[in-house]
Amino acid sequence: MTGTPLLEVEDLKLDLDTGSGRVAAAEGVSFRIDRGETFGLVGESGCGKSITALALIGLLRHPLSIGGGVIRFEGREIQHLSAARQRDLRGNRIAMIFQEPMTALNPVSPVGRQIAEMFVLHKGKSWREADRLAVEALANVRVPAPERRVKDYPHQLSGGMRQRVMIAIALACGPDLLIADEPTTALDVTVQAEIIELMRNLCAERGTAILMISHDLGLVANVCRRVAVMYAGRIVEERGSADIFRAPLHPYTQGLVASLPRLGSRAALGRARLQEIAGVVPAITHFPDGCRFNPRCAQATEICRTAAPDVDLLEAGGLVRCHHHA
């Protein structure tokens, strides 16, 4: 679908108030997601993925704040909307699921109630109607015997079941965008695959776009059509998943791809080690000058230490931010 993208983020800057001044926890963050599209945001822990997601739904709280840039949802700027208008979007048009299915559900409320509440809150349904819709919603996420399960409390369900309930809650109102922040990190590997598959199918059926956030490039590339790789608060590469996987351009992305465990050794490229990239993500308050990746980058040269690379738009679509990209 062409025309206005569903979500458009332009030059977003997120400030962190450290008490002794403001530092940019993320900056120059730009991407767009079309209706029904699957888009991934990948990067090591602490690079700014979650705060970006929170900014999108208007939930950045002190010490974090939006320091600049534009967020458009269906062509409309949403970062300055009133609290009430933002609340109308949240859960209704833009939904989000988190990493912790263990704690994201209210322990003293039956899960059916928690699903039903969404219909009451956003769709103005009566409780009777909402309770009926909740059973349907549970059936949709393939929970067996949903009419009995709605009465269960969260602690009676397994981690995987709880995450299904979270998905049912998130998709209850038929949102246009589902933000999934590390949705399966806390789950067993086998359950992970099921949940991801379920989420992908449900969203595909309904034309819901997905913004999938994870530290796991393999997982994201599997689910998403396009992927943005984030490093130390900046997007360093954004391309089609297949392209990124096959031929990463940014040295950081190359490191990520090389560290993925998979069959077919990449020894020929001299990167046989199944390892994380050496070194650690710099702290927000100590981002290095120039390219933020330079202390860990094997290809760094003098210019990398003094000048921050600009975004290079690629002919084939996508972008990369590196002085010496492949």
């Binding site: 739904i57 939930l59 609340r87 109308d88 979007l89 949240r90 859960g91 209704n92 939904a95 989000m96 988190f98 912790e100 263990m102 704690t103 994201a104 559900l105 209210n106 322990p107 003293v108 409320s109 509440e117 969404m118 809150l121 956003h122 409390y153 602690h155 979270m166 809650i169 998130a170």
Partner: protein, 273 residues
């Protein structure tokens, strides 16, 4: 679930008091106010007069039975008022924080600094004696513990995943406080409420003893004690039975509160349902 002795004994005593209050017209032998008869004045306890009679010949048993109505009404309603005030203030203070939290904290500290009975006395002095004044005076002066508990719970619950998830799902502040926070702090609030009811029963007795409670001749346990104090040596049954009623009711509420604490505390919570 293992039933605790506290819970059973306390619950039974409290239930008994409630039943007595509810069934007073059927349990009482005589009308507690009208049936004065100087022929039977100051009879000691006997088969006819279970708890004896007073100097006007009124049946003490019947008066104690009717007295349960006043004590329990005051205990339950004034504690409900306290709970509503304490929860509203504490929950919102813990949830919103900021200047509102400071205001509520200052108010709570003020309440804690003044003994609540003295405060209630002052209010009674302004409002005059009577059941309504009693409810207002006791209902406005004993919410500080509830407030503290609600505030502390809200403060710790606020960062729970499900509270944040609710924000993300578009819940408003009020909805979050009522559906996410309140149900998760009910345990300690019920315990505090039960204990508070006990202390309200005692306070009612104290205020009535001072002549500030329910006006004679209608009986309350406190006013009966007050009337009996001159005859404490000559007719001790006039003091013993209302005193015993207060003692058993308050004991019951305290045991019940302790018992509830045992089963409602957060550790045993997950095992319960």
């Amino acid at each position: 679930m293992k039933l605790r002795a506290n819970l059973v004994i306390g619950g039974s005593l409290f239930a008994l008091a409630i039943l007595v209050g509810l069934l007073a017209p059927w349990l009482a032998h005589t009308d507690p106010v009208m049936d004065a008869n100087l022929m039977n004045a100051e009879e000691p306890p006997s088969w006819t007069w279970w708890f004896g009679t007073d100097d006007q010949g009124r049946d003490i048993y019947s008066r104690v039975v009717y007295g349960a109505r006043v004590s329990l009404t005051v205990g339950i309603i004034s504690q409900l008022i306290n709970s509503v005030i304490g929860v509203a203030l504490g929950l919102s203070a813990g949830y919103f924080g900021g200047w509102w939290d400071d205001v509520v904290n200052a108010l709570t500290n003020l309440m804690l600094a003044i003994p609540s009975l003295i405060f209630a006395l002052a209010i009674m002095a302004v409002l005059g004696p009577g059941l309504t004044s009693l409810l207002i005076a006791l209902g406005l002066t004993n919410w500080s513990f509830t407030c503290r508990i609600a505030r502390a719970s809200a403060l710790s619950l606020r960062s729970q995943g499900y509270v944040q998830a609710a924000t993300v799902l578009g819940y408003g502040d009020l909805r979050i406080m009522i559906t996410q926070l309140l149900p998760n702090m009910l345990g300690p609030l019920i315990v505090i409420g039960t204990l508070g009811m006990g202390s309200a029963v005692l306070s009612e007795a104290a205020l009535s003893f001072l002549g500030l409670g329910v006006r004679p001749p209608f009986p309350s346990w406190g006013s009966m004690l007050s009337e009996a104090r001159e005859q404490i040596t000559t007719a001790p049954w006039l003091s013993i039975f209302p005193g015993l009623a207060i003692f058993l009711t308050v004991l019951g509420l305290n045991l019940l509160g302790d018992g509830l604490r045992d089963i409602l505390d957060p550790q045993s919570r997950s095992r319960r349902t």
